[in-house]
Amino acid sequence: MPGHADLAQGCDHEVGCITCGDTAVELCVAGVDREHELADCSDGAGRLETVQTALVGAVAPGDVLLVHAGTAIHKLDGGR
C-alpha cells in the first residue's frame, strides 16, 4: 500500500503513537470499495491508507473520517 511504511512511523516520540494510544487521525476518503466496506483514504500529505468503514455507514469521496488503527470510528460533518 503506498505510504504504509511512512504512516507506521507514527510510533515516534514527536508525533506520538497514533495506533497504540487513544488518538485517532482525520483522513479524507479518496476511493470507496462498497462491497468490502473499505475505503482508500489520504492524509494531508497525500499518503494513502486502506480503512474499514463498516462502523460509520456509507462513505463517499471527500468525506472526512476519524480513523484509528485502520478503522473509521466517526464521520465528521462537512467533509473537506
Binding site: H13, G16, T19, D22, G70, T71, I73
Partner: protein, 371 residues
C-alpha cells in the same frame, strides 16, 4: 489545517487561561486527572500546564494502553513469537516493551518472525499472503482500538482465513477509573475524560463518577485549546458546585457513542473475569477476550503460554506514576537508567506514557504562580 489551527491559537489560549485563573478559589489546591495518554502527550508537547495557575495540578492517569500491559503478558507474546511457523504482528510501541527477558524486538533479533503493523487489517493481509504460516496479532488498546480488532476478526471469519489468530489484550477504561477512585492514595477533584474512547463508548459510561463519587468529568479533545477549555469547564463546575459529565469534544463525541462499534465489539469480545494492570494490580472485568464463537482464532487457546505473573523491576515506579501518586521525575531512575532509548518501565516506552512525555519535552518540576 481543518480542526487544528483554530485549536492552537496562542492568544485564545491565554484568554482561556485567564478565565481559569478567574474561576479558581484562592488557596485551594486542585488535582485534575487526565485519563488518556494522548492528552498527557498533548499537555507536555504544547506546554498546556505552563498556562495554568500552580494550584491547578494535572495528574496523569492510566490511559496509555502500552504502559498498563504487565510484563507477564509480554512474556506470553514472546513465547508465541518463538513458536515454529508463527509470524507475530503488533503495533510499533509494543515491540519495545520489556518483558522479564527482553522485548519483542529482541525476539526478532534472535530469529523470531516479529513484524510491526499499523492496523489489524495489515496483520490479516499478511496472513492471507502467507497461508503456510500462523499469523498472530497482539491486540492492545482501549475501546478506541478494540472495534478495529473486532471488525478484523469478523472479516477473517467471513473470508475464511484460517491461519489468523488474535492474542487479545484489549482493556476497558471504566474499571481502572473506579479502582483509582477507590484508592486511598489519591485525592482528585475532577477528570478530563478520554476523547476518542468516548467516540466509541459515548459519555454515559462516565456518569457513575459524578453520581457515585461526586467528581465532575469533562470529555476533551486533544488540541491545546480543547484541554484548556476542559480544565475551565471542570473549574466552573467546582466553583458553581455542579457535578456532571460534560462533553467539550462535541465535534467528535456523540453522547451515546458509536452504537455500531459497540454492537460489533459485543459480538466478538466478552469481559475477562479479571486482568492484571501494571501498577494497579488485578482489576475485575477490566479486559476483553474473544467469545466462544471466535475461540478457534484465539492465540491463547492455540498456543500454550507461560501465563506467569512477573513483578516489575524494583527500581521502576511506573505503578505510582500510572496512579498519579508521583510525578515521573520523582522516579529514582527517570532520565538516568530509564530513558526512551533504554526504557526500564513502560511509561518511558510509549510517547503516550507520562515519563516519555516529560522526558521528550523537558518538562520537570518548575515554579508557577500560586493563586
Amino acid at each position: 489545517m481543518r480542526f487544528v489551527d483554530e485549536f492552537r491559537d496562542a492568544e485564545l489560549g491565554r484568554a482561556v487561561a485567564g478565565e481559569i485563573l478567574a474561576t479558581v478559589e484562592t488557596g485551594r489546591h486542585y488535582k485534575v486527572m487526565e485519563v488518556c495518554g494522548g492528552h498527557t502527550h498533548s499537555i507536555y508537547k504544547y506546554g498546556v500546564d505552563d498556562l495554568l495557575p500552580a494550584n491547578v495540578e494535572l495528574v496523569h492517569g492510566p490511559g496509555c494502553p502500552v504502559c498498563v500491559i504487565p510484563m507477564g503478558r509480554v512474556d506470553d507474546g514472546i513465547a508465541i513469537a518463538h513458536q515454529d511457523g508463527v509470524t507475530f504482528t503488533c503495533f510499533g510501541d509494543m515491540m519495545r516493551v520489556p518483558g522479564s527477558d527482553g522485548t519483542l524486538l529482541d525476539a526478532k533479533a534472535e530469529g523470531a518472525d516479529v513484524r510491526m503493523v499499523y492496523s489489524p487489517l495489515d496483520a490479516l493481509r499478511i496472513a492471507k499472503e502467507n497461508p503456510d504460516r500462523d499469523v498472530v496479532f497482539f491486540a492492545i488498546g482501549f475501546e478506541t482500538t478494540a472495534p478495529s480488532t473486532a471488525l478484523t476478526m469478523k472479516r477473517a471469519r467471513m473470508e475464511r482465513v484460517r491461519n489468523f489468530f488474535c492474542m487479545c489484550n484489549h482493556v476497558t477504561i471504566v474499571p481502572p477509573l473506579r479502582a483509582l477512585l477507590e484508592s486511598p492514595d489519591l485525592r482528585l477533584d475532577g477528570f478530563i475524560g478520554p476523547g476518542h474512547v468516548s467516540t466509541v463508548v459515548g459519555a454515559r459510561p462516565f456518569e457513575f463518577i459524578p453520581a457515585d463519587y461526586g467528581k465532575p468529568v469533562v470529555i476533551s479533545g486533544f488540541e491545546p485549546l480543547d484541554l484548556l477549555q476542559s480544565v475551565h469547564m471542570i473549574m466552573r463546575q467546582l466553583a458553581e458546585e455542579l457535578c456532571e459529565v460534560e462533553v467539550q469534544y462535541s465535534r467528535v463525541v456523540p453522547y451515546e457513542g458509536n452504537l455500531q462499534a459497540l454492537k460489533v465489539m459485543a459480538e466478538v469480545f466478552e469481559l475477562r473475569p479479571h486482568f492484571e494492570w501494571r501498577g494497579l494490580g488485578f482489576i475485575s472485568q477490566s479486559a476483553l477476550k474473544l467469545t466462544e464463537a471466535y475461540a478457534d482464532l484465539d492465540a491463547e487457546i492455540r498456543y500454550e503460554v507461560p501465563g506467569v505473573r512477573v513483578a516489575d523491576p524494583k527500581a521502576c515506579q511506573c505503578g505510582e506514576v500510572l496512579k498519579g501518586v508521583i510525578k515521573p521525575w520523582e522516579c529514582k531512575v527517570f532520565g538516568t537508567a530509564c530513558t526512551p532509548e533504554h526504557a526500564i518501565g513502560t511509561c518511558m516506552v510509549s510517547p503516550e506514557g507520562a515519563c516519555a512525555a516529560y522526558y521528550n519535552y523537558g518538562r520537570f518540576a518548575r515554579e508557577r504562580e500560586v493563586v
